[in-house]
């Protein structure tokens, strides 16, 4: 466990020391500021309410979960694998007394922590901005549901990250992994629209699964099914990713 802990601390430190994490934070701030400015514009220009204090964080989540969050997850995942393969810096860790399984798990865990930190940062900032600039429309229930929606969004983002990690272990160039990831993302989005009856099977549709928790009737069966689909695909992607990582020659 101590070895895994060391590997995880190292991965988190590498993430923190790179500029990408800082850029992700700054872009998240920009999304919130631009979103709030747009709402202020709509309110003063058209006399519409726009969004209340609790609706604003949900609006932010709906936007980021399909845009900047997958984008930065992809960048961080690609950098963690393809980046280190191409610079040969993977050898630095691989020649230490730590198994490849622990290194792989530590890398995945660092990506998960990055996504969680991004979600929490977005939640806190959007809530603060929502309370300061918008009319108070919140109840305790809606407040709790907002926090819950942000937290459950972690799961589909992790599955997406595992998919990108698999591609990073499959394709040599990091740039190719990035473009293939974007292409697959767009294709799955389009397929989700065309074959809407099967859309729950697609990774990209699952990004919006937090909406299921907001429905008044609370569709337990649908939530459990979606959860199991994500869990199953997550396990398969993790296994396939590790298989390729373990076989890799450096």
């Amino acid at each position: 466990m101590a070895v895994f802990q060391a590997a995880l601390v190292n991965e988190v430190e590498k993430l923190y020391k790179k500029k990408k994490a800082l850029i992700a934070v700054l872009l998240s701030l920009a999304v919130i500021v631009i979103g709030q400015l747009a709402i202020v514009g709509v309110r003063s220009g058209f006399g519409l309410r726009g969004a209340g204090s609790v609706e604003f964080p949900m609006l932010v989540l709906a936007v980021v979960v399909n845009t900047i969050l997958p984008l930065f997850t992809a960048l961080v995942a690609i950098d963690s694998f393809s980046g280190e393969f191409s610079q040969n810096s993977m050898r630095i860790t691989l020649t230490r007394p730590v198994s490849r399984f622990k290194i792989f798990c530590a890398k995945i865990m660092a990506i998960v922590l990055f996504i969680l930190a991004m979600l929490l940062l977005l939640l806190i900032l959007s809530m603060l901005v929502g309370v300061i600039f918008n009319t108070n429309s919140g109840t305790l229930h809606s407040f709790v549901m907002t926090i819950f929606s942000y937290l459950v969004s972690l799961l589909p983002m992790v599955v997406l990250a595992l998919g990108i990690v698999l591609l990073a272990n499959l394709i040599k160039s990091g740039i190719s992994v990035f473009f293939v990831s974007i292409l697959v993302f767009i294709v799955l989005k389009v397929l989700g629209l065309i074959f809407s009856q099967y859309s729950s099977l697609f990774m990209t549709t699952q990004l919006d699964w937090y909406n299921l928790f907001l429905i008044n009737s609370f569709p337990v069966g649908k939530i459990v099914r979606q959860f199991l689909i994500m869990l199953g695909s997550g396990i398969m992607l993790f296994t396939a990713g590790f298989y390729l990582f373990d076989k890799k020659e450096f």
Binding site: A2, V3, A6, A7, V9, N10, E13, K14, K17, K18, K19, Q87, N88, S89, R91, I92, L94, T95, R96, P97, V98, S99, R100, K247, E249, F250
Partner: protein
Amino acid sequence: METIIEIKELTKLYGNGRGIKDINLDIYKGDIFGFLGPNGAGKTTAMKIMTGLIRPERGDVKIFGYSVTEEYELAMEKVGCLIEIAEAYTYMSAFDNLKQLARYYPEVDYKRIDEVLELTGMIKYKHEKPKKFSLGMKQRLGLAAALLSRPKVVILDEPLNGLDVEGMIDIRRLIHHLAEQDQTTFFISSHLIHDVELTCNRIGVIYEGKMLNVESTPNILKNYATLENYFVSEVERNGRVPSSAR
């Protein structure tokens, strides 16, 4: 003599026919073993297998009795290594790079990091990022990383790459000092044959993926004027053997 590294029937062949075939070798405690061979003979392949960077097709390497393929963490616990080019995270200072590695060894503290930086002459660049380092400086940092955990076995692939004469002498002294004082075992590959002669006390020659001979340096120098003469003679002798007879 205590066997530290045990290589048995190690085989790894690439698509182009290169690689290593049935390598058997024992390295004993306190050995400074020089691994010699022409380019493409299989030195780096063998060393990469020894450090778990690639897997063998057949055979195994045991370090302190632990298999590198089966019990990697235990096998590498007392091993420090530098394979091919010394790699470092370019966005972290030299100190932070070593701090990353230190986390895998509970007994290594910040004082030890300063100690190895001092040993390798890198202490004045402690807070600089390797991005701006010369090849020699990177190599020194790589050596510092290899020695950080006070390893009992050090595997070095071309450790003198990019070092100036002063650097070579410093590293040679350091290797002798560690072998004598701490009984550290060294496994070194280098194309600088004169330096191998001055540094190593046992020599193994690898040619076309096969081990030709293993002999102690004093014995070699009894029969040959220089190690270079011995190496050329070994390689030529093997080169003259028809491939069908090998």
